[in-house]
């Protein structure tokens, strides 16, 4: 039986987030104190690099390497930015960490500031997280009062200040260059890298942008050492990962497990399996940039590389379980729809390409696709990946490509047979009343669009042209006389 092991969430649900004493009791700010008293900035960078900590916000870029680049830049001003613009559907670990353990982020950012030579940090939090902002604000004030933030921290020469910046809810502002432009007061949209922020970032100065979960690991690594951190997780992805379990799973919520834990262990041992005795079909990881991993790969040990090999990615750790009632094309459409909404609209492939890709998927789900549609989807997806400006666009076709790879028969079923086995795509199924109907008229009374006709005690008929497929008749019939059957395309 696999157990959770908590580094990032170590204090969440344990301490009072508004109490600095509680945090200090948990060895809080001792990592910062240790860096200031016993380590050079280069030591700190080496410790983080040696620990093999990788960015928990999505890409898995080596954190220590990012810090090293920023530390090497010669500049009188540098910045540390915490990316708390959490936006993946179903992911909320960053909010939970800030709400439950705000000081850990403050401490980590100060350590990062010391490591790269920055004296100013910004936490970019989405404005939809008012409680997180409130607690973080209080924590900053308390840390300042006690000399743990501000000028000459813990009596050293090092000074570091923090400011909170609000994001207006644009998903793309989780992309680091967009985030930086947003802090600068410009429209939140990405710019081409290079230059990388570590070289030329906020206000043109060297800047490291790390996500909340990444930062939350830092004090623990400093306190317990890189070797300890490396002893957890896998060779290429040391440490733990927080996942947000959602979808068709019994125990929804946040979990933290060592990297290398298998999908099966997560879903069945920790997540409590699938509700209502249904079978699992796939899990979606990596949010709109990720993919759907089918059940046959559930024994995969999760790390950055293994998920990538399965056409998905770690992302921020959203893990949505899909059961047998899920339509995989509809799922792909959901994620693409999200990207289309959240694209900043700057570059052509993401602005128009994703819209067209979504329209192609709509053709699949509404039965108007033909034999060329899949080719068009493949070809357009490749160009979007090839030519988009930022990570959002470059990964946006992933949900489509991964489902197309693992569930080709489901796409073909929609296109060729005009059928959605999961009965999700409205245009591809219909409700019909069978001969067992006793003419109780209940369905006819409940039908919101009055499209069920028939005499009392006679078999009723659904007028398909008017039916909106709400399923009310199916729900209320006491005699199992309403059937859900494929077809019905001509009625749409």
């Amino acid at each position: 039986m696999i157990e959770q092991y908590r580094i990032v969430l170590r204090n969440c649900g344990v301490i009072d987030p508004d109490s600095l004493d509680d945090y200090i009791k948990q060895y809080g700010y001792q990592a910062l104190g240790k860096t200031l008293a016993e380590m050079t900035p280069a030591d700190v960078v080496a410790e983080i690099e040696g620990a093999g900590l990788r960015g928990r916000g999505g890409g898995g870029f080596p954190t220590g390497f990012k810090w090293k680049i920023a530390a090497q830049q010669k500049s009188d001003t540098k910045f540390v930015v915490c990316n708390a613009d959490e936006g993946d559907p179903g992911a909320f670990m960053d909010r939970s960490v800030i709400e439950g353990d705000p000081h850990s982020i403050i401490e980590a950012m100060a350590i990062a500031g010391y490591a790269i030579g920055a004296s100013m940090g910004y936490v970019y939090v989405r404005a939809e997280y008012p409680l997180a902002i409130e607690r973080l604000n209080r924590a900053i004030d308390k840390a300042k009062e006690k000399g743990l933030l501000g000028d000459n921290i813990l009596g050293s020469d090092f000074s570091f200040d923090l400011e909170i910046k609000f994001g207006a809810g644009a998903f793309v502002c989780g992309e680091e260059t967009s985030l930086i432009h947003s802090i600068e007061g410009y429209r939140g949209e990405p710019t081409t890298k290079p230059p990388f922020p570590a070289v030329e970032g906020l206000f043109g100065k060297p800047t490291i942008v790390n996500n909340v979960e990444t930062f939350a690991n830092v004090p623990a690594i400093i306190l317990k050492g890189k070797d300890w951190f490396r002893s957890i997780g896998t060779e290429s992805s040391p440490g733990t990962k927080v996942f947000a379990l959602a979808g068709k799973i019994n125990n929804t919520g946040l979990i933290e497990v060592p990297m290398g834990t298998t999908i099966n262990q997560i879903i069945f041992e920790i997540g409590g399996g699938i509700p209502n005795g249904k079978k699992a079909k796939a899990i979606q990881t990596g949010g709109p940039s990720g993919g759907c991993i089918p059940v046959k790969y559930f024994d995969t040990a999760i790390d950055y590389e293994s998920l990538k090999a399965l056409e998905s990615m770690m992302g921020s750790g959203g893990m949505i379980v899909l059961d047998e009632d899920t339509c995989i094309v509809d799922t792909a459409k959901f994620y693409l729809d999200f990207t289309v909404d959240e694209s900043c609209g700057k570059c052509t492939p993401c602005r128009i390409g994703n819209k067209r890709l979504l329209e192609l998927l709509e053709k699949v789900t509404n039965g108007t696709a033909d034999e060329n549609t899949l080719n068009d989807i493949q070809s357009l997806s490749q160009v979007i990946k090839d030519t988009s400006l930022c990570g959002l666009g470059q990964t946006s076709p992933n949900p489509v490509l991964s489902t197309l790879k693992f569930f080709p028969e489901e796409y073909k079923e929609h296109i060729v047979d005009k059928k959605c086995s999961a009965f999700v795509c409205k245009e591809l199924y219909q409700y019909v009343i069978n001969d067992s109907c006793v003419g109780c008229t209940l369905c006819s009374k409940k039908c919101p669009v009055s499209c069920i006709e028939g005499e009392v005690k006679g078999v009723h008929i659904i007028v398909q042209d008017d039916c909106i497929k709400c399923g009310k008749c199916y729900e209320v019939c006491k005699f199992n006389s309403v059937d859900l059957v494929p077809g019905g395309l001509s009625n749409v």
């Binding site: 644009a170 793309v172 429209r187 949209e189 710019t191 081409t192 290079p194 289309v340 909404d341 959240e342 694209s343 900043c344 609209g345 700057k346 570059c347 052509t348 492939p349 602005r351 128009i352 390409g353 994703n354 819209k355 067209r356 329209e359 192609l360 068009d376 070809s379 357009l380 160009v383 990946k385 090839d386 030519t387 988009s388 400006l389 470059q394």
Partner: protein
């Protein structure tokens, strides 16, 4: 500067660090298409946002394709600009752009000059593989100058760069998200309800028909055909050195005589020169300047020839609205003189005189419609045509300007000096004013009429001029961004001048929003500028106050500069404008 070595399409090349792949490829004569990219070198303005993605190339070892316009060359890079993958990607990008673009090319105002249309032809996009929903936005033509059709916007952001980075007016920017993203004004206001100055620099750089000028060609055609009207043309200084480009002449070609001949072919009853009014402007402005210097008036005196600049001042420097010269611009002075002096002399009812201006400018259209630009209830100017629009009218009338025999302007309003023609280049108005002011102030003849210090297309220039013992400090700014910088310094008291010339467009009217498109080649602006100074140096009379027709005008009508009559017809006022 260190160098890096790379190969492009198998050819080795060494370039300076920081050079983009696009620039390196260009130096090897390897063509890479661009759409959003534009480099206005002479003005230090670049739009390299990398948004259109048409310039992508393959770089060895990179997962995705690289935008060549904003990817710097690196040591050992292996670049392929024309692989099947690249060509497929570019064609797809074009198809995507076209899938959300009106397919009304034949009737589009930009047809024939549209960069998207050119690329579609070059890449032989004969089908649009991905069709779907098209954006739909209301067009804005509720002003006299600029027609904005967001449906044709391809989000290249060039206009935004021109408006925000170069002009620092900040009217246009990317709005909304996703498929609905489009360049627009704040709160989707109409241009007329914003601080927009109508300088037209956005129109100059727009690759498609999203930003074009509002044209009055049809009204002009009808006026020309109306026997009851006397239709007269005036041509601004900068038009004569640019219109040739529309007839395949080399940039910098001086087409004055041919242009006059062409206008006469169009049946204009008289073809006059705005230069005449430019000389007249100097008379009034130099007089006002000396009056203020001598009698402790408000300083600095600012030139007021440029309507876009005046509008910027009225919106954004309200406390300064009383410091520009009250002299109207040459265009407006010309109209007033034509309708109230010349017409009277000719025995024509001013109401029957139609004044058509040919201007390098779009803001002139706005200016002519300003309420106060009337004298005795008659508008000074009836229609304003841009240089580009005159070329269109000539072409549709079957007139090939290049082959015409040169003709002279009509008189008396066609007579001008070298001082007038340089109004078209940044610094020219100031130089012309100084030539006159010097002689009036000192009573001596000016030996060296060339004031080199205020010439050129640098954004801000300044000089100290010795008026026989009295030092006059002058400055010149072209480009509204530079103008703002200069005015902010004056506002803060960091700089003080006696006289300042400001032109809204970088380099002056030769780079106006109504001039033939330069497609990012700013060397053309320099050639136009040289041509104007050549005309000046070849003129016999190079000081405005020596223009014999001007002298006659004062003798017969106005008496002297600043007179009551002059104020009535040749001067105006400015207003604080909110939004």
């Amino acid at each position: 500067m260190s160098k890096v070595k790379l190969t492009i399409n198998g050819v080795s090349i060494e370039v300076e660090k920081g050079t983009t792949i696009l620039e390196a490829a260009k130096s090897l004569d390897i063509g890479i298409p661009t759409l959003c990219y534009v480099d206005l070198k002479e003005f230090n303005v670049k739009n390299k946002v990398g948004s259109c993605r048409i310039c992508v190339v393959e770089v060895d070892g990179r997962n995705n394709l690289a935008p060549s316009c904003c990817t710097p060359c690196e040591e050992g890079m292996v670049v392929i600009t024309n692989s099947a993958r690249v060509l497929h990607a570019r064609r797809t990008i074009l198809q995507l752009l076209l899938s959300d673009h009106p397919k009304e090319c034949l009737t589009c105002k930009k047809s024939g000059e549209c960069e998207l249309q050119d690329l579609a032809a070059e890449y032989r996009v004969h089908e649009i593989r991905y069709e779907g929903e098209e954006s739909s936005y209301p067009a804005d033509r509720a002003n006299k100058s600029i027609y904005r059709d967001p449906n044709k916007c391809i989000m290249c952001r060039r206009c935004e760069t021109a408006c925000n980075d170069m002009q620092k007016v900040g009217i246009l920017s990317g709005t909304e998200r996703g498929f609905g993203a489009v360049v627009d004004t704040a709160a989707h206001s109409k241009l007329a309800d914003t601080y927009c100055t109508f300088c037209g620099q956005c129109v100059s750089v727009c690759p498609t028909g999203a930003l074009t000028s509002i044209t009055y060609n049809q009204e002009v055609i009808e006026a020309l055909a109306d026997p009851s009207k006397v239709v007269i043309a005036q041509t601004a200084p900068a038009v004569r050195v640019a219109i040739g480009e529309s007839f395949a002449e080399e940039p910098g070609t001086i087409s004055t005589g041919k242009m006059v001949a062409a206008l006469k072919k169009l049946n204009f009853d008289y073809v006059f020169d705005t230069d005449f009014a430019a000389d007249l402007t100097i008379m009034e402005e130099a007089n006002e300047m000396l009056d203020r210097i001598k009698n402790g008036g408000k300083l600095p005196i600012l030139t007021s020839c440029c309507p876009a600049w005046v509008k910027l001042l009225e919106h954004q420097f309200p406390e300064m609205v009383n410091i520009p010269s009250s002299a109207k611009s040459p265009q407006q002075m010309f109209g007033a003189v034509a309708k109230h002096y010349w017409a009277k002399k000719m025995g024509i009812d001013p109401h029957n005189v139609v004044v058509v201006s040919v201007m390098p400018c779009l803001a002139k259209k706005y200016e002519s419609a300003r309420e106060e630009m009337k004298s005795d209830g008659v508008p000074d100017v009836d229609y304003v045509m841009s240089t580009r629009e005159l070329a269109v009218l000539l072409k549709e009338s079957g007139i090939n300007m290049s082959n015409l025999k040169e003709q002279e302007y009509d008189n008396p309003l066609g007579e001008s000096t070298g001082a007038a023609v340089i109004f078209g280049a940044a610094g020219g108005v100031l130089e012309a004013a100084l030539r006159t002011a010097y002689e009036w102030f000192t009573g001596k003849e000016l030996a060296e009429v060339n004031f080199e210090a205020v010439r050129g297309i640098d954004g801000i220039k300044s000089a100290e001029i010795d008026l026989d013992g009295t030092t006059v400090k002058v400055a010149q700014a072209s480009g509204l961004g530079n103008a703002r910088e200069l005015l902010n310094k004056i506002r803060k008291g960091e700089e003080a001048y006696h006289a300042i010339e400001i032109m809204a467009c970088p380099g002056g009217c030769i780079n106006g929003g109504g001039q033939p498109f330069i497609h990012g080649d700013t060397s053309i602006i320099k050639k136009r500028q040289e041509a104007l100074y050549n005309i000046d140096s070849n003129e016999e009379i190079r000081k405005s106050h020596e223009n014999p027709m001007i002298k006659k005008l004062y003798k017969e009508w106005l008496d002297k500069p600043g007179s009551h009559e002059a104020h009535k017809y040749l001067h105006t006022e400015y207003f604080e404008r909110g939004i």
